[in-house]
């Protein structure tokens, strides 16, 4: 049996005077508002079950009041769940004694807060070293590790400064360094970038992705921003009213919304920043092989009514783009192949290019755009129509 990094089973959290009663009501499928009016209990989490894999960035997304922060705080029991279980590395967190829990918090989980929550009375070095200090790590050792962590977020030389002297982006870097200082396996990031300016926020997102490439932590990232979720998440859980509506990859969330709520949520997404060339490309057919002559070329183009066609070799390596008028020219000249009539200056993109980055090219280019691997193998083609089709409907273009 594979042990998941974090496994959450039937988690409930009720705020209010009679939590157990509310759980029973929830199980008999009463909704949040009924329970509030009947028992004065507020439902925080309603039967949440999740498994989070080691090394993935798992985004929990929802609007305020959806329970996403509550869920994050249940994982390290900053908030006590009302019922249900949480396992980290197979160990039941919810059943742990206070002392065992302290050890888990110290060794396994780092946390980053929306408001940074840096200690104003400590300089950056001591802020970052805080988690090590409470573990009883000697001062020289913890300062060394803290300095390393600060270096990791690009803040070397700032050790003696105080948090108040820093900009928001820098403060959150410190927050990140503090969470990473004792090298935990799990990083809880509660709206970590939500308080930052849009540009700084993007930088931080990129940097987190970069760092994650090297450190390979299990990251639980809480956000209310769908674009952030789509950008960072390997998988996304969308929450509403304490319930999980859907768990899936960004593509699944966008293309196969499980509920009306999810569909409405993703409606306004700028898909051009989510979909890549690989998502929208068409199968490259018909194709022309290098051995084919101009007559075949014209025939193929005629069949489907196109005015240009890609020519590839047997390994599907692109030779060039053949326009109909050139093919006709070759025919008149009595050529056997069209090799010398190919346009080799055709438009080409990598499969991972975002659509938003292709608009300029699409506006100027004549024929189809080739989606090619780095060694020029043709994977698919894109014409203007493909992009519109992909963006207009909920239908997956694939």
């Amino acid at each position: 049996m594979v042990i998941e990094k974090i496994e959450i089973k039937n988690l409930y959290k009720i705020f209010g005077p009679h939590p157990e009663k509310a759980v029973d009501l929830l199980k008999s499928s009463k909704n949040k508002d009924e329970i509030l009016s009947k028992t004065k209990n507020v439902v925080g989490l309603n039967n949440v079950s999740l498994s989070i894999k080691s090394g993935e960035i798992f985004v929990v997304m929802g609007l305020s009041g959806s329970g996403k922060s509550t869920l994050a705080r249940c994982i390290n029991r900053l908030i006590e769940p009302t019922s249900g279980e949480i396992y980290i590395d197979g160990e039941n967190i919810t059943a742990m004694s206070y002392n065992e829990l302290l050890q888990v918090r110290r060794n396994k989980i780092g946390m980053v807060f929306q408001s940074f929550a840096l200690f104003p009375h400590l300089n950056l070095l001591d802020n970052v070293a805080y988690g090590l200090k409470v573990q009883g790590v000697p001062v020289a050792k913890r300062h060394e590790k803290a300095a390393q962590a600060l270096k990791g977020v690009g803040l070397s030389g700032w050790e003696k400064h105080y948090p108040q002297q820093l900009s928001g982006g820098m403060r959150q870097r410190v927050g990140l360094a503090r969470a990473l200082a004792n090298d935990p396996g799990i990083l809880l990031m509660d709206e970590a970038f939500s308080a930052l300016d849009p540009l700084i926020r993007q930088d931080m997102q990129d940097e987190l992705m970069n760092m994650q490439g090297k450190m390979n932590k299990t990251i639980v990232f809480i956000t209310h921003d769908l674009n952030e979720a789509l950008k960072l998440g390997d998988r996304i859980a969308l929450m509403k009213d304490g319930k999980i509506n859907q768990v899936g990859t960004p593509e699944e969330i966008l293309n196969q919304p499980a509920t009306k709520y999810v569909a409405r949520f993703v409606e306004g997404v700028d898909k051009t920043r989510v979909f890549t060339a690989a998502h929208v490309m068409k199968k490259p057919s018909p194709l022309l092989y290098a051995k084919d002559g101009p007559r075949v070329a014209l025939l193929r183009m005629n069949e489907v009514g196109i005015s240009s066609i890609f020519v590839v070799d047997k390994q599907k390596k692109i030779q060039g783009l053949l326009y109909a008028d050139k093919a006709a020219e070759a025919l008149r000249a009595g050529e056997d192949t069209v090799i010398s009539y190919l346009d080799t200056d055709y438009a080409k993109v990598a499969p991972e290019t975002y659509i938003s980055d292709m608009f300029d090219m699409m506006a100027t280019v004549q024929g189809p755009v080739a989606v090619a691997s780095p060694d020029d193998h043709l994977l698919g083609i894109i014409v203007r129509g493909t992009i519109f089709a992909a963006l207009s409907g909920g239908e997956s273009p694939l």
Binding site: N76, L78, L102, Q103, V104, R105, R106, N107, I109, G110, M111, F113, S115, A117, L118, F119, P120, H121, Y130, G131, K133, V134, Q135, Y162, Q164, Q165, R178, L188
Partner: protein, 283 residues
């Protein structure tokens, strides 16, 4: 008409009559040790020739607190010396220092207790209200009964009067620490004691220092009232002036109290302010 009267006074008298016989040995023992403490304090202050005292205090304040304040203090103390009220000033100062120390010794731990347990706060707050609103003359009498006329009784009265601000502001300061700080500290696996020591107390320090300042001022004001039960010092001059209708003497003693008040207030405020600045170095 029905004769209706709650015999609170009689009952109180009764209780105190009994209490005295029971706890007299305790209060006597306490009284003598407190008296020793007070005597040391005063002896220490009077040990110095006035001029040396002024110079040393001036220098300490000059280097560690504030230069302008140091000059002010030096002149005011020379003024007190010139009024021939030096001994009285030192006596008051000694009583205030002792009263403040004692109040803080009890007040800060009680404040911490109140901040950590809501139940403790619920019990402590009304007691503090009671202590602060009860007219001081009411507890001057039992203080005398338990500790006899003199400085120890005065000290007891000071304790009742000056303890509440220390407790309240310690409690307030700790409770005002933003919850996100507590959350962050918990998330990294701090124990409750560690949270208190590493996060709550340092962040509450400016407020606690305001409490210390309040405590000092309360001690001073009570030390004047306590002249009526033999506290001595500047308060006795004022009391004597009142009894003999001596306006001049009243002015001298009164001004002396004002001077001592300003000195203690400015020094403690400056220290409180500095602890706040150390926290908010935003320049």
């Amino acid at each position: 008409m029905i004769e209706f009267r709650i015999p609170l006074g009689d009952v109180t008298n009764d209780i105190f009559d009994r209490l005295i016989t029971v706890i007299a040995p305790v209060t006597n023992a306490l009284s003598s040790s407190l008296e020793t403490f007070l005597r040391w304090n005063e002896t220490f202050l009077l040990l110095w020739p006035p001029l040396l005292f002024i110079v040393v205090l001036g220098l300490v304040v000059w280097f560690f607190v504030d230069k302008k304040l140091s000059i002010f203090i030096a002149f005011s103390l020379i003024f007190m010396f010139g009024l021939a009220l030096w001994d009285q000033t030192m006596s008051t100062l000694g009583l205030v220092i002792a009263g403040t120390l004692l109040s803080l010794l009890f007040g800060i731990p009680i404040g911490i207790l109140a901040s950590q347990y809501d139940m403790a706060e619920k019990v402590i707050t009304p007691i503090l209200d009671f202590m602060q609103t009860l007219p001081s003359f009411v507890y001057l009498i039992p203080a005398v009964i338990f500790f006899g006329l003199g400085k120890v009784a005065a000290l007891a009265a000071i304790l009742i009067f000056a303890l509440p601000p220390a407790v309240r502001l310690t409690n307030l300061g700790i409770r005002q620490v933003p919850t996100e700080m507590i959350e962050a500290a918990s998330a990294f696996g701090s124990t409750r004691t560690q949270i208190l020591k590493e996060v709550q107390l340092p962040l509450a320090m400016p407020t606690i220092m305001t409490g210390v300042n309040q405590c000092i001022m309360m001690s001073l004001s009570m030390s004047v009232i306590a002249a009526m039960i033999g506290a001595g010092g500047l308060g006795r001059e004022v009391l004597r002036a009142m009894q003999t209708v001596d306006i001049g003497l009243g002015m001298e003693g009164g001004l002396g109290i004002v001077v001592v008040a300003i000195i203690l207030d400015r020094i403690s405020q400056r220290i409180a302010k500095r602890s706040k600045e150390e926290r908010d170095i935003s320049k």
